[in-house]
């Protein structure tokens, strides 16, 4: 199908799916009875999106016509992700902001999707 005619749009689509899955499990983590399962889903899907951000950045850089937005957006997503990890691991007093960061990551994935739409 033409809509999925480039690797970037396929990866961006997978990214949206993973980010939504991770976001919901993240929200469920707060009040989950089986926190370990929610945590597993949250981390597994979340870490996969990191790989996608990195691959998308490399694809954007290796393109013959470099689109600055296509390079910067995955890097921004990566930065937000790392800050989120840093808060969770080191600065728990900022923990109340991580759900907002999860929402930001979904927004970034939507932008990555739109940037990579084949014309």
């Amino acid at each position: 199908m033409f809509i999925f005619s480039s690797a970037s749009i396929i990866l961006a689509s997978i990214g949206i799916v993973l980010a939504v899955t991770s976001f919901i499990s993240g929200l469920q983590l707060v009040r989950a009875t089986s926190a370990s399962i929610e945590g597993m889903i949250h981390r597994a899907n979340g870490y996969l999106t990191i790989i996608l951000f990195i691959v998308l950045t490399f694809i954007a850089i290796s393109s013959s016509m470099i689109n600055i937005a296509a390079v910067l957006l995955p890097l921004t997503g990566l930065a937000v992700f790392l800050v989120k990890l840093w808060i969770i691991r080191r600065h728990k007093r900022f923990l109340k902001y991580v759900s907002w960061m999860g929402g930001t990551l979904i927004t970034i994935w939507l932008l990555v999707f739109y940037i990579n739409i084949p014309v």
């Binding site: 799916v17 939504v20 899955t21 976001f23 399962i37 889903i41 013959s64 999707f113 014309v119």
Partner: protein, 260 residues
């Protein structure tokens, strides 16, 4: 139609820049039905063709770029001549058009990229030409523009991200548009104005202000064209829904595995 190798044996071949430094010099010195092979490189010139010849790039449009030396003129202009072949070039930098066929018939314009011009490809008073596999993208006005041109075949072209219409047929009839991608143009995807008896088949006309517009023309045939304007608004919603389903499935699977 004879294959390229057979053609090269029958008619003489001129190689640019080995035999002539510029494409225009080669065109001037070519005999009827000669073939000009252009090696990779960036050429700054306007090529005017007034005799039936074939101009073919050796390595394709990504390696053979012709930029307009005089921006007010087309990069390639074919005037009052039949059976011209232009294949495998990037034509750019003209305020008028990358490739312009004027009163020329039975030509073949294939596998070119006509980008960042006033218009991508223009056919004026030209009939029975084949325009196939070209990219006419990112132009200031139209991607592909046919005026008073009949019985042409436009197949597998891309006419996207132009600042007016993707493909515009004006007073042109009996043309066949098949399997073209006409996306993300500022105004109409395909506009047929005062044009009749054209056939539009299997074209993808997505994300334009208007998809296919027919005005003051009759008896045009539209078969299996897709004109989705909002596909990329719907798609993320579908993906988000798949994300929710994915969460439910993963949760069920893990609960089953860990017996929680």
């Amino acid at each position: 139609m004879l294959p390229l190798t057979a053609l090269l044996l029958i008619y003489s071949t001129i190689i640019v820049p080995e035999n002539y430094k510029t494409i225009q010099e080669a065109v001037i010195n070519a005999s009827l039905e000669d073939t000009i092979i252009v090696s990779e490189g960036i050429y700054k010139e306007n090529v005017s063709i007034t005799r039936p010849i074939s101009i073919i790039s050796r390595r394709g449009p990504d390696f053979t770029i012709v930029g307009a030396a005089v921006p007010s003129e087309p990069v390639f202009k074919v005037s009052n001549v039949n059976n011209v072949v232009i294949t495998g070039f990037t034509a750019t930098g003209s305020l008028l058009s990358g490739i312009y066929l004027y009163n020329s018939n039975n030509g073949t314009i294939s596998d070119n990229k006509s980008v960042k011009n006033g218009n991508g490809i223009i056919l004026y008073g030209s009939s029975k030409n084949t325009v196939a596999g070209n990219s006419a993208d990112l132009n200031e006005k139209y991607g592909i523009y046919l005026d008073s041109s009949n019985r042409n075949r436009l197949g597998k072209n891309s006419a996207s991200s132009n600042k007016d219409n993707g493909i515009f047929l004006s007073s042109s009839s009996y043309n066949n548009l098949t399997d073209n991608s006409v996306n993300h143009n500022t105004w109409n995807g395909i506009l047929l104005w005062d044009s009749s008896n054209n056939t539009l088949k299997d074209n993808r006309v997505w994300r334009n202000r208007f998809g296919i517009v027919i005005s003051e023309g009759g008896n045009n045939t539209l078969i299996n064209n897709s004109t989705w304007s909002n596909i990329y608004i719907i798609m993320p919603l579908i993906l988000a829904y798949i994300g929710i389903l994915s969460y439910i499935i993963q949760r069920r699977v893990l609960k089953t595995i860990y017996r929680v």
